[in-house]
Symmetry: C2
């Protein structure tokens, strides 16, 4: 999916919500445990109920890998289900990969050739040749970690160099030599509200993938206020607050209500910015 298509989906859905499929066998409703593949059964129900209110899904690889082969099969089935039934959804493999060139090539092959997702999250520590192999596929996206939503983001990401440039800023600047905003996005945590002003100085046109709204405490209003650009430029992720909104047999309907609430708030911000009409 290209940038223009993503933008059009945002206008159509009046939403820039990404639903995070951090599906944990220990947290899903108990009645699903008798299903042949409880993880996929959960994802399918969540997708069917929330798809009208979001433009993207972000399965988090860690949750699937922790179950070994059955987990990976559930991941693959989830991606295949999305592509077959909701082809307008942007699919992000949240994997935080990044390795030397020949290894990143393998990861790229895995995600774009084999699983056919739209985007993969990548860690920047190893630099250009760890990122570029992900960009050889047409309409494939790298979502590079810039400023994350966790406490540990303080450890290295704010380190200033001799010119006062912080590491996350250096990542934003340097990585724009590797790809344009047609193939690269950045992860920017919602817990860093006003930092979006700083981010937009360096990346005015890029889409930003924003985790940390909901369970992690970030404010959607602040993110929209400081982070939105003329093409929206935001994909705000919510995982736990939506998918685990309820754990009874009505979980999917309750998740839909939670997703819809977020979507309705998003519609207000899109309207205020003039991106959609009333």
């Amino acid at each position: 999916m290209n940038k223009q298509q993503l933008f059009e989906n945002i206008q159509k859905k009046k939403s820039f919500l990404c639903v995070g499929l951090d599906t944990d066998i220990k947290k899903i409703p108990q009645h699903l445990l008798t299903e042949e593949d409880p993880i996929f059964a959960f994802n399918k129900a969540i997708i069917d109920s929330t798809a009208p209110y979001c433009v993207a899904y972000k399965p988090n690889l860690a949750f699937y890998e922790s179950l070994g082969v059955p987990g990976l099969m559930a991941f693959e089935k989830t991606v295949a289900y999305l592509k077959a039934n909701y082809p307008d959804q942007f699919i992000i493999a949240d994997a935080k990969r990044g390795d030397i060139g020949n290894t990143s090539e393998m990861y790229a092959r895995s995600f774009f050739d084999y699983m056919k997702v739209d985007a993969v999250t990548v860690a920047p520590y190893m630099g250009e040749d760890s990122v570029k192999p992900f960009l050889i596929y047409p309409e494939s996206w790298v979502i590079l970690l810039a400023l994350t939503s966790n406490k540990g983001s303080q450890d290295f990401q704010f380190t200033e160099d001799v010119n006062g440039v912080r590491l996350f800023e250096k990542v934003l600047k340097k990585s724009q030599e590797w790809a344009s905003d047609e193939q690269m996005m950045y992860v920017v945590g919602a817990t860093q509200g006003k930092m979006f002003l700083e981010i937009r100085k360096h990346a005015p046109n890029h889409f930003l993938l924003v985790p940390g709204v909901g369970a992690q405490g970030g404010s959607l209003k602040e993110v929209a206020q400081y982070g939105m650009n003329d093409q929206c430029g935001l994909l705000v992720n919510s995982s736990r607050a939506i998918i685990y909104a309820d754990n009874t047999p009505a979980f999917a309907e309750v998740a839909a209500v939670a997703a819809r609430e977020v979507q309705e708030e998003m519609a207000i911000y899109l309207l205020e910015k003039g991106i959609i009409k009333a």
Copy 2:
């Protein structure tokens, strides 16, 4: 496996070689393609022939993931085979993971609870809470990226802060607040020969995992000269130069010769350092 056991294995084997199992279906000998599981068949043969000359194996997850479920099954079979037949081998899942706390917990569960490897490589960009969940398992190891062997290591890892501390040095310093040298190692690329002097200023006692010897051009002699400490403190990885030394039906024997050559050179450096006796 704890640090003392690893050191004793190094003395016993007169080797600090780690064989990297970067097994690529496109590079293994063609006659294996008729096997039910060509990747595992290749690994098994390589392991059986090289085990006398090394103390560790490092399967690179990317190569297995790129094949989807069958790849992951081959990875799991490889780990199980090592544990059953060569319990004195230190097993490193080269995965370069790292994510927010609840996600890193999942990765830790995946590698230590489910696959039962000894160590996993982790990227430091997201800081403390992305690393610590890997350390809750007894005798589990984190191998943190410090200075990598690729060209892209120049992009961010050498960035100096206002006190002249480079990012890789900050990673070395800060991370020692999270774990001791009994549970943490560092990745330091062999292509950065004399940098081992700098590394050892900050981490005199830690084991270092050293990729980049062989195909990537690093010098074993330099690594031993500048990087070895009294407990060896080195695991030098070679992947392509050993496992793809030959692609005829004699590939495993040729790999053994390649591994043995490295081991014999290592024995010289261990002897010179007084770690083993003549």
